[in-house]
């Protein structure tokens, strides 16, 4: 039975439980002159809960456990005795046999896998049936237990509401779990990486050549400084040189000068810029902007101009960030009390003088926080740099030169055919950890600034 069908079966059983329990509770109403403590529907929910929850918990557990059980069972059969001893080949054959099981007519790469496939198929089917049987049994047992407890003075409502509260709490804990999962998985893989490559080599080395790692001294080829520089140069310098002036001036124009009708239309139009998928920007950068910038560089006399320049990636990324900066600036300008603006205007200052000397200084913390968030977003941005930036790690100040970033390298390192334990693959997690820590700090600082600043005017 497929997982979907089983899920539907359990939901169906829970529905039946809900209906029967509610019917029984309705019949109890008024029997013996006593009022029901809980509403019939609440009794229904109580039974449905007992039907579904144990079965579903078991299924989650079983789907994690059963592949291991199947593996063990297959390994114990006589057909599996001819397998090579533990190692890569053995797991490859087992994996292939597992994939072959259940499909028909496909040939196998390994003859052993072909032999093992039907064995796998048999055990997978039988373990799936065992799981189904136990799940259905649990559903009935739970339902029966709950059904017998229905009585006039049974406090079904209390129980159900307690369960709902538990669900609410669990749902909100998932955010913490995710954060913890991200942090721990990055930390764990990075620790393995740093046991191979010294952390000092990684953080201070200037040679990044992961394609040809020397096994004797992996640290010499895995110095990440060029990546950090490239990320900073593209995301925090070039992109911000585009995003800050355009974003800030747009926000100023739209809040201070534009007619309400213009503002009403232009603001969403600018926000579309942030909603365009980054893969589209990346394609645009690679197809149109990159070659155009190369031609420009050649006409300026740069002989080794590349179409994968830092400038094309940074420029397009800057455009993507414009609405981000402008809406943050918009918010913080709007938060400046009108009395300050009116006061300045009443003194005879022009609007631009008011903006430059009163509104912007007052809104500065908010604008700075917005810029920090924008930087954090730019250095975490992936697709634009994957498609438009170069793979060559160089430390350069020339925007027409090629540069690479942390995110591009993560993608490059993890989409090859490397096995999971090589320093090459693990390096991606170390880069991920660095990226996570940097963006985390930027976000924390920015959020602090925003919070403090918001309170100042309230």
């Amino acid at each position: 039975m497929t997982a979907t069908a089983l899920l539907l079966l359990i939901v169906g059983l829970a529905l039946i439980g809900w209906l029967t329990a509610r019917a029984r509770a309705t019949r109890l109403q008024g029997v013996g002159g006593k009022r029901l403590h809980s509403l019939p529907g609440q009794h229904g929910w109580y039974v449905a809960m007992w039907v579904a929850v144990p079965a579903l918990v078991f299924l989650a557990f079983w789907s994690w456990l059963s592949p291991q059980l199947v593996n063990d069972a297959v390994l114990a059969t006589p057909q599996a005795q001819s397998l090579p001893a533990a190692g890569f080949e053995r797991s490859a054959i087992l994996g292939e046999a597992r994939n072959l099981a259940g499909t028909e007519g496909l040939g196998a790469f390994n003859p052993e896998a072909e032999v093992l496939a039907p064995v796998f198929d048999g055990y997978m089917t039988s373990y799936a049936w065992i799981g189904t049987a136990i799940a259905v049994l649990l559903a009935f047992a739970g339902g029966a237990f709950a059904y017998t407890r229905i009585a006039t003075d049974f406090r079904a409502r209390t129980r159900v509401e307690r369960a709902v509260m538990l669900a609410l709490l669990v749902a909100s804990l998932i955010a913490i779990l995710t954060t913890l999962g991200i942090f721990l998985s990055l930390l764990f893989e990075s620790a393995r990486f740093f046991s191979i490559v010294p952390i000092t080599d990684f953080l201070s080395g200037t040679n990044w050549a992961p394609q040809v790692i020397n096994p004797a001294d992996p640290g010499a080829d895995l110095g990440a400084v060029p990546l950090f520089w490239g990320t900073f140069f593209i995301g925090a310098v070039i992109a911000m040189l585009v995003a800050i002036p355009f974003g800030l001036m747009s926000a100023i124009y739209l809040t201070q000068y534009a007619a309400p009708a213009v503002r009403k239309w232009m603001k969403p139009i600018l926000e579309i810029l942030a909603g365009v998928p980054t893969v589209v920007y990346g394609y645009f950068a690679a197809l149109t902007v990159g070659p155009a910038i190369r031609d420009l560089a050649v006409s300026l006399g740069f002989t080794f101009a590349s179409s994968e320049s830092a400038l094309s990636a940074g420029l397009v990324m800057g455009v993507m960030i414009i609405p981000f900066v402008s809406s943050m600036a918009d918010d913080s300008i709007a938060a400046v009390p009108t009395s300050m603006r009116d006061g300045s205007l009443a003194m005879g200052a022009t609007t631009s003088e008011t903006i430059g000397r009163v509104l912007l200084p007052a809104a500065l913390p908010g604008v700075v926080a917005g810029v920090l968030l924008a930087v954090s977003r730019a250095i975490g941005e992936t697709m634009i740099v994957v498609m438009a930036a170069s793979g060559a790690a160089t430390i350069t100040l020339n925007p027409f030169d090629s540069a690479t970033t942390v995110t591009k390298q993560i993608v490059d390192l993890l989409t090859g055919e490397a096995e999971f334990n090589s320093p090459k693959t693990l390096a991606a997690f170390a880069l991920g950890l660095t990226l996570f820590v940097i963006t985390f700090l930027l976000n924390i600082v920015a959020l602090r600034v925003v919070k403090k600043y918001r309170e100042a005017y309230e």
């Binding site: 002036p245 355009f246 124009y253 998928p277 893969v279 455009v319 977003r377 992936t382 959020l447």
Partner: protein
């Protein structure tokens, strides 16, 4: 924060009380005013320029995609005369009704026969005028009408990329000449490219389609919605309605705000290390992609949900409590229905973000070449943005228009979702 401004205004207050009134008519004063007004105009123009250039960039982007991509929706076709009777295909008509028809026709050498027919019809270069997948069109036609096998027929097959390029825009002189020759013989037609909507990935740009990627996107979004919506709504309710103010709830709040700003590729690393590495979930599958994206957009839904729940006035809760509802009933019978439009708006915006996301899906292996549409949540699949990414790497000119056409489809979906979100917000916005 605002101390410099306060200091300035205080300093202004200490100026000497008597001062000769400013004579605005003097030349220097007039010049000063003119300068200030000019600066004002310049500043204003600068602002207008910033807005216009930003919007102009968007227009340029959309125009580039449209002008490149519209050709992807049409295709050039060649009317190819085929003499099936002379081909001596070793296929009996009753073989064609069965499931092995494709195999039988391929085994009978249909592909070579179609190529030979093109050479016979259009000269030695003829085979290069029709698409590599032209024989598939012929195969389908034969399957539809087995009686074709005994007679002559003219079948419209897709033209090769070169001919298509020559027919729609500039190309090399040779292909231009070939296209002109075909046009002169009345063999060249153009039609709507249905293959683009119904096919999946392929190595031949004339045979590619987005259906596989669209279906993959749909399945992935289904998982994302099924996980992110309930989790997001439940935690928004908990944080806004029940959570005590203590260190735990502060921690939850900090994690949610932080998760909202974590780069998406980090979620991909999480998916790779935890879902693929630890839980052994299937690679490239919509279920893994969906779970990863759900974790990514969950904070968006929580934040939107909290704002929507917060906006429901306390009087509603008080009234419900007053007539004896329990706290759970207050929330699920009264607060949640009133907050739902706001939550839905946030959910749609989050889903739009998930639909356009590429980087985390690359990490969990959804970049494989997959030439069939996925059947279920665990079969290998690709999604629309990843498909765009994969096609963008292809050097063939035919893929440029296909990539842009796929981008048009993706942008249309996103615009539709955003429009729906705006509509919901305007339609159900309540002022209490």
């Amino acid at each position: 924060m605002n101390s410099p401004i306060v200091a300035q205004s205080l300093a202004g207050g200490h100026e000497p009380a008597e001062r000769a009134p400013t004579d605005w008519k003097t030349q220097s004063m007039q010049r000063r005013i003119r300068r200030r007004y000019a600066a004002e105009r310049r500043f204003r123009l600068l602002g207008l320029a910033a807005v216009t250039i930003s919007a102009g960039f968007l227009a340029f982007l959309l125009w580039t995609m449209l002008s490149n991509g519209l050709a992807g929706f049409s295709r050039t076709e060649v009317r190819l005369p085929l003499n099936f009777a002379a081909m001596n295909l070793d296929v009996t008509p009753d073989q064609l009704g069965r499931r092995g028809a494709d195999l039988a026709l391929a085994g009978a050498g249909l592909q070579n026969a179609v190529g030979a027919a093109a050479v016979e019809a259009f000269g030695a270069e003829g085979e290069r005028y029709i698409s590599d997948s032209a024989w598939v069109t012929v195969r389908e036609a034969v399957k539809d009408d087995p009686s074709l096998l005994t007679k002559q027929a003219t079948i419209t097959v897709p033209a090769s990329s070169d001919i298509h390029t020559a027919a729609t825009e500039d190309a090399t002189p040779e292909t231009e000449a070939a296209a002109a020759m075909l046009t002169q013989r009345g063999a060249l037609t153009s039609g709507f490219n249905w293959t683009f909507l119904t096919g999946a990935d392929s190595t031949d740009p004339t045979a590619v389609g987005i259906w596989g990627a669209l279906k993959g996107s749909f399945l992935t979004m289904l998982v994302t919605l099924a996980l992110a919506f309930p989790i997001g709504v439940l935690s928004a309710i908990y944080l806004e309605e029940y959570a005590p103010r203590n260190r735990w709830t502060d921690l939850i709040e900090v994690s949610i705000n932080n998760l909202a700003a974590v780069p998406s590729i980090i979620f991909g690393l999480l998916g790779l290390a935890v879902f693929l590495g630890t839980f052994n979930m299937p690679r490239s599958a919509p279920i893994v992609g969906g779970v990863t994206l759900a974790l990514m957009i969950m904070p968006v839904i929580v934040i939107a949900g909290r704002n929507a729940v917060k906006a429901v006035p306390p009087s509603i809760r008080d009234a419900a409590l007053g007539v004896g509802a329990s706290r759970i009933q207050v929330v699920f019978h009264h607060v949640l229905p009133l907050a739902l439009p706001g939550i839905l708006t946030g959910t749609i915006i989050g889903m739009a973000r998930a639909l356009g996301e590429t980087a985390p899906l690359l990490m969990i292996g959804m970049r494989a070449f997959i030439s069939t549409a996925p059947d279920d949540l665990t079969s290998p699949a690709t999604v629309l943005p990843v498909q765009i990414f994969l096609w963008s790497d292809q050097v063939s000119r035919g893929f440029v228009e296909k990539t842009s056409a796929a981008i048009i489809v993706l942008l249309m979906f996103l615009l539709a979702m955003n429009a729906l979100a705006i509509y919901l917000r305007n339609r159900f916005e309540t002022r209490w």
